[in-house]
Amino acid sequence: MAEVLVYVDHVDGAVRKPTLELLTLARRIGDPVAVHLGPGAEEAAKTLGEYGAVKVLAADAAEFADYLVVPKVDALQAAYDAVSPAAVLVPSSAEGKEIAARLAVRIGSGIITDAVDLEAGEAGPVATQSVFAAAFTTKSRVSKGIPVITVKPNSTAPEAAPAAGAVEELAVSFGEKAAGTKVVARTPRESSGRPELTEAAIVVSGGRGVNGAENFHVIEELADSLGAAVGASRAAVDAGWYPHSNQVGQTGKTVSPQLYVATGISGAIQHRAGMQTSKTIVAINKDAEAPIFDLVDYGIVGDLFEVVPKLTEEVKTRKG
């Protein structure tokens, strides 16, 4: 069977969930070959093999951390040359998309970004995308070259399918452009201890209605009672009430959880773009005319400071 390259997103060898989804999707097209850059390949290989990687091509070099994007493109291209795959799959993070797009130019292939599903097709893999703020669903494919496709988190449920997953060293020689953009400092983001926004089954978001950073604990308490991630609208982020990394929407994260709770959010098109594909949507807003109510399965017209604490209390009671 043809091989499919899967670019691994990991933190020091801890493989992130979207990569497991990619391995699962890759198996619909061929045999997944994982590409692991940076430290922790041996550790990662156990997980990658469990989810179907037939082998793990690994390279570690200081360049990956010291310079932006290009060294990783050089390495992915080396893997591409070594394997001659039927497709290349990359997680749809900001960096993942840039790596994938530069590879596509180099190998003369088309690129599809932000796929939410992937199937094998007669003329190559068919990617499903959600476009125009999720108003349309499209099916597309790469018509020239070897398909390069980036896939969004939460696109499928990861399924284990044990394979060998042995680590093989990948030889990479960096091009002269690799050192073009230097990373002069890096400050890791502190973990909130809550689930990752794009991976969470439940997301509770707060907007301008939360009215101040000091009130966001009301949203966090509800999130914690449900085991949810916390999101925010751009209005709340721009006001400095919550970090930008938690923004949901067009210029923030796209989330597609089982349950999305919007509190004090009007539901502007750019916000909907990031949450419209959630399975169940509920909203609390004091304005009965707010457009968010067009999307809801259940909505409460009311003051969030009245409704949310009581909801949190009731959830806790029911959970015992």
Binding site: G110, A133, F136, R186, L259
Partner: protein, 261 residues
């Protein structure tokens, strides 16, 4: 030596309008009102700030797009850019990111540049990859997705807020930069700016001027193909109730019924 800045801006259908596909499954740019992509206003703003800090700078705004894309160029000129280049050709209809980036790269080289500034993503295609592709094609450093940017002594510095870390980046000019909507509010064109923009030069280029053959771009030349576009079925109307003191409890009961609690 003057600092030559090229800002890439896109003319896009208004996101608050009824965006849809044309019969050939390309984005319908005719029946929906268009405008300068809001995310490219941030690029124009940062270019203006960089030029204000430089001794001597010239800003060219560049677009690849249909005739109406002139509106986007006018807006950028009225914000304060110096001149504009419009790549316009019927054969460009349906061009995808690889084709657009090839055309932009040639137009940028023809114009001459030290710094290219892009937005973080177009609001219609939302790929967010064109700046990286441009850097690849031009063979210069990519310094992308910046929430802060500055240019001093032939170097560009910036802050990139990633998923797992915040990075400080540095590269030598020439370079391609993209800026996010966290980089600072874009200015409104002043009345004076709007009047001045009417006199600023807008150069038109077609594919011939850039040495492209028609089949290298457009729908035929595209590297990707859309086979199907289906409107998302409207969500079935849900229950909306007014809080009379029991809203929290009612919502909890709903969540329990759906097995979230």
């Amino acid at each position: 030596m003057s600092l030559r800045i090229v800002v890439c801006v896109k003319y896009v259908p208004d996101a608050t309008g009824d965006r849809h596909f044309a019969e050939d499954l390309t984005t319908d740019r005719e029946s929906v009102d268009g405008l300068l992509s809001e995310l490219d206003e941030y690029a124009v703003e940062q270019a203006l700030q960089i030029s204000e800090d430089a001794d001597d700078a010239e800003i060219t705004v560049l677009t690849v797009g249909p005739e109406d894309a002139k509106d986007a160029l006018r807006k950028a000129l009225s914000m304060g850019a110096d001149k504009a280049v419009h790549v316009e050709d019927d054969d460009l209809h349906g061009t995808d990111v690889l084709g657009t980036s090839a055309v932009l790269a040639k137009a940028i080289e023809k114009t001459g540049y030290d710094l290219v500034v892009c937005g973080m993503a177009s609001t219609d295609g939302t790929m967010g990859v064109l700046p990286a592709v441009l850097a690849e094609r031009l063979g210069v450093p990519q310094v992308t997705l910046l929430s802060e940017v500055s240019v001093t002594d032939g170097k560009v510095n910036g802050r990139r807020d990633g998923d797992t870390a915040t990075e400080q980046l540095e590269a030598s000019l020439p370079a391609v930069v993209s800026v996010t909507d966290q980089s600072g509010e874009a200015r409104y064109p002043s009345f004076k700016g709007i009047m001045a923009a009417k006199k600023k030069p807008v150069e038109s280029l077609d594919l011939d001027d850039l040495d492209f053959e028609a089949d290298e771009v457009g729908l035929e030349g595209a590297w990707t193909k859309v086979d199907e576009a289906t409107p998302r079925p409207p969500r079935t109307a849900g229950t909306v109730v007014k809080d009379e003191g029991e809203g929290g409890k009612q919502l909890a009961a709903f969540l329990a019924e759906r097995k979230f609690v």
